[in-house]
Symmetry: D2
Subunit: 150 residues, 4 copies
């Protein structure tokens, strides 16, 4: 992986504060567990109220965590005053998300002035080991001067 340098020395607190304003992350029980320049981990746990019809975590829950992880990986590299918006993402479900602990890791693969592209890997951890359960590619936009900040 390419390694990146943050433009904003306060990138970590900025990312964590913005994450804490994402009320939906609290709703699904997700917390942000690691913030590095261009790389962010978000964790959540198996819970009955997050399931689809077969008892696995809903694909939308995985997508939500991976989208936030990708967005904050992108934000960690943005200049002070900028905000991040999701332009689009695509996610492949690779295996049923069975596991006690789920980690969505967002990593920047291309950081541009306007457009940043990230990978998001979702891994399930259980007593049986770890398993890659979903893979995302997300395109994020740097927004400046539109009254939005992060």
């Amino acid at each position: 992986m390419t390694s990146f340098a943050a433009q904003d020395p306060n990138f970590e607190s900025r990312v964590r504060q913005s994450f804490s304003r994402q009320q939906f992350m609290a709703t699904i029980g997700a917390s942000i567990t690691r913030v590095e320049p261009g790389e962010v981990d978000i964790e959540l746990h198996q819970r009955d109220d997050l399931t689809q019809q077969h008892g696995f975590l809903h694909a939308g829950v995985l997508a939500s965590a991976a989208d936030s992880a990708c967005g904050y990986a992108a934000l960690s590299l943005m200049p002070p005053g900028a905000a991040v918006l999701s332009i689009e993402f695509k996610i492949n479900m690779l295996a049923p998300a069975a596991g006690d602990r789920i980690v969505a890791r967002g990593r920047v693969i291309r950081a541009g002035k306007t457009v940043t592209v990230c990978w998001g890997d979702v891994t399930a951890y259980s007593s049986a080991g770890e398993k890659l359960v979903a893979s995302m590619v997300a395109t994020m936009m740097t927004v400046q001067g539109r009254g939005l900040t992060d």
Copy 2:
């Protein structure tokens, strides 16, 4: 749009019962409001606990509703005994999801024996009118004989 015929005469109750087992849909306050062969609507409402950091609905909420709408649009055309799984989806966010009522409409565009492809449109309704806020393409799989049913 192409119009489709259901193979299962009980497609509507089957879709509604499977949806009622998606506990995550209840968590985000989503209900299924229309079930036709190859076309399903899912509705939800603006709620503070579903927002991202700028106060709009989180992209993951839109994706969750659209994924379920696409999955059930696909299931409505499947033979009795089959189950539906999301292989992958891609969603573009077209405008901030501001609006009191959000409708995710899933529509089948190609129904195959194994693979079904759907569009998912997410529209926000407010006193200011209606607006297309997100557009999904989803690939769904028909699963038979693996101990899963819908």
Copy 3:
């Protein structure tokens, strides 16, 4: 579909001239057959040297025509002096591309200052009728002041 107005009165000649500089379109025998504000058709024909291993048109050929159709649909709405770049696209193959004449139609669904989102439908026409063979969603970027023009 939403209808759009062009900002550049010369949008059609501008699109056609830019298309004529895409040497790859000539290589695959593609021509631009319709240019409206936000909507562009590109046509090509079945040819042995465009096939994959089973004798159908290669998915990359369909993607190439649909990407150009989407890019020029986006360009048709851009201000004079701007250039268009593809940020990303996704394409679903819906049926084998068997047919004498293939039309890729790009249509803008969201035109923003920086980001434009398009659908690209690929239809095969033969004596047996017409068939939707592929469906694209593409994200295009308006580029200004970087030494690129279209």
Copy 4:
């Protein structure tokens, strides 16, 4: 990366023979340069007749090579008698494809009985060094008993 074992001892010649029937790969000057279980490289070179309007390789050329690399990475793991079809792919363009030599590498990340998911990285090599210019995620299907073979 996960490593995979081939089910078909003749996987390499089978992949190479199928590739040689993709006439479109010859049209764009692409050759297959490496075939391992679950991993395939396809190379091509900068050529004027493969360009878009700004003189860079057309995104469709990159997508074509990456789609074939992903498809053959998937085929390398399939049982004898099966054929591979592209269900869908998504590609992000990360940088202009400027470089003398382009390598599209397809790698399987999930090999299922019916559905295989691959990453496709496109790298440009020039005297200035190497650069990742595009990133694909592709979903491939194993087809058996429909009169298609690879």
